[in-house]
Amino acid sequence: MRAQSRLGLFLLLTPLLLWLTLLIVIPHIDMLLVSLRERVGVGEYRTSLANYLTFLTEPLYLWTFLRTALMSVLATALTLLIAFPVSYYIAKIAKGRVQSALFLLCLVPFWVSELVRTFGWMILLRETGVFSGLLQWAGLVDGPVEMLYNDVAMMVGLVYTSMLFMVVPLVTTLESLDDSVIEAGYDLGGSGPSILREIVIPHAMPGIVSGCIVVFMLSLGNYLTPTMLGGKESLWFTELIYSQFIVRFNWELGAAFGFMLLLLSSVIVWAVLRLTGQTLEKTMG
């Protein structure tokens, strides 16, 4: 029996280890090694930090990196602010059929590709688009208005694209909050805001944390939305990675960029988990 169980353990471990080592661990180590390589001649390389120095000394790279980070934080905060009241409504105020229907409606947009959603925003916002047409029809503006290709359009797209990943964890944690606890809060003289601050938000914390982590990751790693909705000024860090890899074929620098992106996301995820006293196993698993 014991030998059999050892064999079972071994058989079950094999696919997991193959997957994690060949597709996750070794590729990332290899990417790190490539990023530490400097081309000195044709087919000749030496180990150096040159790519990271380029990253730090070229203002465009560093600036884009910081901008991407800040804009992703902003997108996460906006998503949380917009999603929280809606999630609370679905979890605590809607009942029965309405509740499940609303929840399902939240999921629908995310069964279609991000590309389709971005395309929708392009049709709405562009010069010959729906909003511009409506404004002209209402007589508010004289000519067509271009609302696409700027930071606001990009932010609208980013928030839209990651909404689901905030709503689902929030609804799940809020649903587990017992109504009687809130009633008790009112009985003890609490007001709306103080109950929100002292009962509802602490209870929803695991959902808030996991929602924020996922939304932040998705915004940081997004390529489609900044490319299609953002303007010339709204360069995103993933666009730099793409251009180093595919357009310029400078893999060494591209790998260094990739590693910086990975580092940034890991540091922020770690810091958020640390600050809120959560663990990755609890928030994701």
Partner: protein, 283 residues
């Protein structure tokens, strides 16, 4: 703010209006994409030129509908093929992982569990480039060492499948684990007492119990693979899946044929997802 506690009428109205506005915001982009699939114009934008089915069924220039547009049909086929491969692989590995983490206690279990979750917090584009870098290191090594050029290690469908598999497996594992945790192990013991072997017991008792979760994981994996963009973008070769083909078209500025494809996608994935929910409710 719960129904049993009265709130001023104005507050309630404002709250309801906010939630309604939110759903309008959610529906708007999808609604306009669908509506403009029927616009009888070369561009998916205003002015409205009248209703037409031509972007679905048109078969002559300049109006070629989806069903006669070869490159798009081929891209749908590619996406479906990639999706099936990814779903099969990730459900298989995900089931193994679920059994491993639920049934076995071993050294490094905690570490492996965290490693298993990591792909969820690695940006898709980084997953893509790391696999691209590693596979070409391997391919170059093999070519220099033995003179073989292994086509599968160059950007193309094999790498796309592996790249998507690398993070979708985590999701499959989580979905299947959640159901396995609810399984009453005494049922399996009963099967063993009745003389079944270990494998027979798992096959006839545990796996049927897991089936809904496995099918659910399969559908989710398929949808995620079908709509994946970031990882695929870095690994794609000459056979582009649908999202990449559509992206290239969109950059050039396309005809409403893209709206028609999008509408078909929406209908397809909604049906798939609704079917899955109905199936899950039944079991």
């Amino acid at each position: 703010m719960i129904p049993s506690i009265r709130q001023p009428r104005a507050v309630r109205l404002a709250y309801n209006a906010y939630v309604a506005l939110f759903f309008v915001y959610l529906a708007l982009p999808l609604a306009v994409v669908s509506v403009f699939a029927f616009n009888d114009s070369q561009f998916p934008s205003l002015p409205w030129e009248g209703f037409t089915w031509a972007w679905f069924f048109g078969d002559a220039r300049p109006v070629i509908g989806v069903f006669h547009e070869r490159p798009i049909l081929r891209a749908i086929g590619t996406s479906a093929f990639v999706g099936l491969c990814v779903s099969l692989l990730s459900v298989a590995v995900g089931t193994c992982n679920a059994f491993l983490f639920n049934r076995h206690r071993f050294r490094l279990r905690g570490l492996l569990y965290v490693l298993m979750l990591l792909p969820l917090v690695i940006p898709g584009i980084v997953l893509g480039i790391s696999i691209l870098v590693f596979s070409s290191t391997l391919a170059n090594g093999v070519e220099d060492g033995m003179g073989w050029d292994i086509e599968a290690l160059r950007p193309g469908l094999v790498l796309v499948v592996l790249g998507q598999f690398s993070f979708i497996t985590t999701i499959a594992t989580l979905v299947i684990s959640a159901r396995l945790r609810k399984f009453d192990e005494s049922l399996e013991e009963a099967a063993l007492n009745l003389g079944a072997g270990r494998l027979t017991a798992v096959r006839t008792v545990t796996l049927p119990f897991l089936a809904p979760a496995m099918i659910g994981a399969f559908v989710v994996a398929f949808l995620m693979s079908f709509e994946n963009f970031n990882t695929t973008l870095m690994l794609v070769g000459s056979d582009a899946p649908l999202t990449i083909t559509m992206f290239d078209r969109l950059k050039e500025g396309s005809t409403p044929v893209l709206n028609a494809v999008s509408l078909l996608l929406m209908i397809g994935s909604s049906l798939l997802a609704l079917g899955m929910i109905a199936f899950q409710k039944k079991s």
